[in-house]
Symmetry: C2
Subunit: 354 residues, 2 copies
Amino acid sequence: MQQTRLDTDRIRAARRVIDPVFLGTPLYRCEALEPGLGCAVSIKLETANPVRSFKGRGTEVVASLLAEHGPRAVVCASAGNLGQALAWSGRGRGLDVTVVASRFATAAKLDRIRALGAGLELVDGDHELARERAAEIARYEGIRLVEDSLDIETCEGAATIGLELVEAREQAEQAKQTGPAGLAEVAEPAEPAGTAPPFDAVLIALGGGALATGVGHVLKALAPGVEVICVQPLGAPAMTRSWRGRRVVTTDSTDTIADGVAGRRPIPAVLDDLLLVADDAVLVQEASIVAGMRMLLDHAGLVVEPSAALGIAAILEDRDRFAGRHVVTIVCGSNVDGDAYRRWVGAAALPHRA
Amino acid sequence: MQQTRLDTDRIRAARRVIDPVFLGTPLYRCEALEPGLGCAVSIKLETANPVRSFKGRGTEVVASLLAEHGPRAVVCASAGNLGQALAWSGRGRGLDVTVVASRFATAAKLDRIRALGAGLELVDGDHELARERAAEIARYEGIRLVEDSLDIETCEGAATIGLELVEAREQAEQAKQTGPAGLAEVAEPAEPAGTAPPFDAVLIALGGGALATGVGHVLKALAPGVEVICVQPLGAPAMTRSWRGRRVVTTDSTDTIADGVAGRRPIPAVLDDLLLVADDAVLVQEASIVAGMRMLLDHAGLVVEPSAALGIAAILEDRDRFAGRHVVTIVCGSNVDGDAYRRWVGAAALPHRA
């Protein structure tokens, strides 16, 4: 593999500064999903933590470095999950955190950012305007700008998911060789029903690229046979088009419910890394994202935000590709507005509650 | 502490035979729940695994022993979660599993038991009749009867949750002494907002008693200052009344949506253990269970079954008792029928989907 900006040893080191509450997340097969998808599906669940997304892994790395060496004031642009995570990580280390977000961002995310004690500035535009404004604040106030996916710590944090996936896959391969505990004496250790081969593909939500380049780097370095498939909404295709064209392609607007991945201006250095680690980047329709959210609710009992359903959407749109395989999908966040969620997953939705 | 039937070293040994997919489950503070509850609340999440409940911990211990030494056919009575877990654990080890359940049991649980390849026999009565029928099958066919809460392996498996809670609490206490990573140089390491003291109470759903006696034993042995509070529905109060009366009290019927804990005939040996490890046993109303389910959905993004909301229900019914404290609630299962769940959490519920 050609060199990305990431380094596997640095990722291992990053893992040591991350609060354990974000690490060792559940990875489990969800057979109830499988009849509807035609393949073995394992979920890597990144929502059962204090900020309900994977972003805490990266902000822990950022904040621990700042607390040791850097300025104690920091600003980031965020669609909501990075801001919430940086607010959490910064609060625990006495950092002064400012988050810039679109005023159209998911209200539940903005509420949590405020509740965690961060300063919140809203811009009258989309996430790209929030990025500009955050950079402006950093320059004007001389404080640290955290740029998601560009700042290597955000990628290294996300990449620790890759370490966990690879370690689990190695354990599964070992267990396959020795057989399940207690089966040693059985004459015919036939493949028990429900046993799947170790996973051979990972579906990763693609937005700015921290998650995809981070996890992709680790997989390509340590489990190169595993297919790394990035998934983006058709309504926010800039990074996927850039990956396909091998050069930065921007778009004028986005149109997707998957707020967490709705960027328009890919970062060149992140694209370069993505070109080295992604085997594919696919675009999915909004209806498939909604169908994925419904399946995760009905068959896995999981409330997820739209970005976290991109992997299921990709399987739904290309069953033949995945038929008979074992696929991991990273369920990357669960921060949704209750009303919007109820609208998406069912027309006669749950009533509003304060 | 007087001797329960449990032994902490045996529980540590049990942990080594349990599939890791059931271990090391998330434990995290959920601040979004706290304004509504008036105390710090941490969730121990036992739903992110292949059977969506904590029961896999116990059935792994049962099945690994059987696979080594015992008969290869096994029967249990179950409200649904034990049966699902035993079906999963048995399948992986080539055991022949039969589950006896009430025909009124949660359909989603029965569907999963069938899908996992176990034999399923339904009785025209409640869980106590299923227990009788399972014992009858075991006697008649000469196969192993697994009795939840009575068989020590089911308690030892559940008790591994206690080990994880105690270990996390010790880590939290250490972190409190050294301060968060990277804060060493700060002149005034004042308590950062959002920091809670280590938990001082654990709320445990009480049914047959495996979870309560298992977790309770470990807490009393290794963290005796932590209050062990069992929670049962007012509509299925047999074990709580027995604990209060210090003798087995049975009831003629049950009336609760919390199917996982709806027993009528406590097991004397389990009650004896519970008397040694529980600091309190409280009864909660159905409306509080539903309110707890709603809060977990709205503020934690968690779909849970009624038994898993008993802890939140207990806080809602006695806020003064918990005010300002740090409470862990074990979210023990998420197997619900979609329609019933939608009916409970909102009148104009999500539409039915096949």
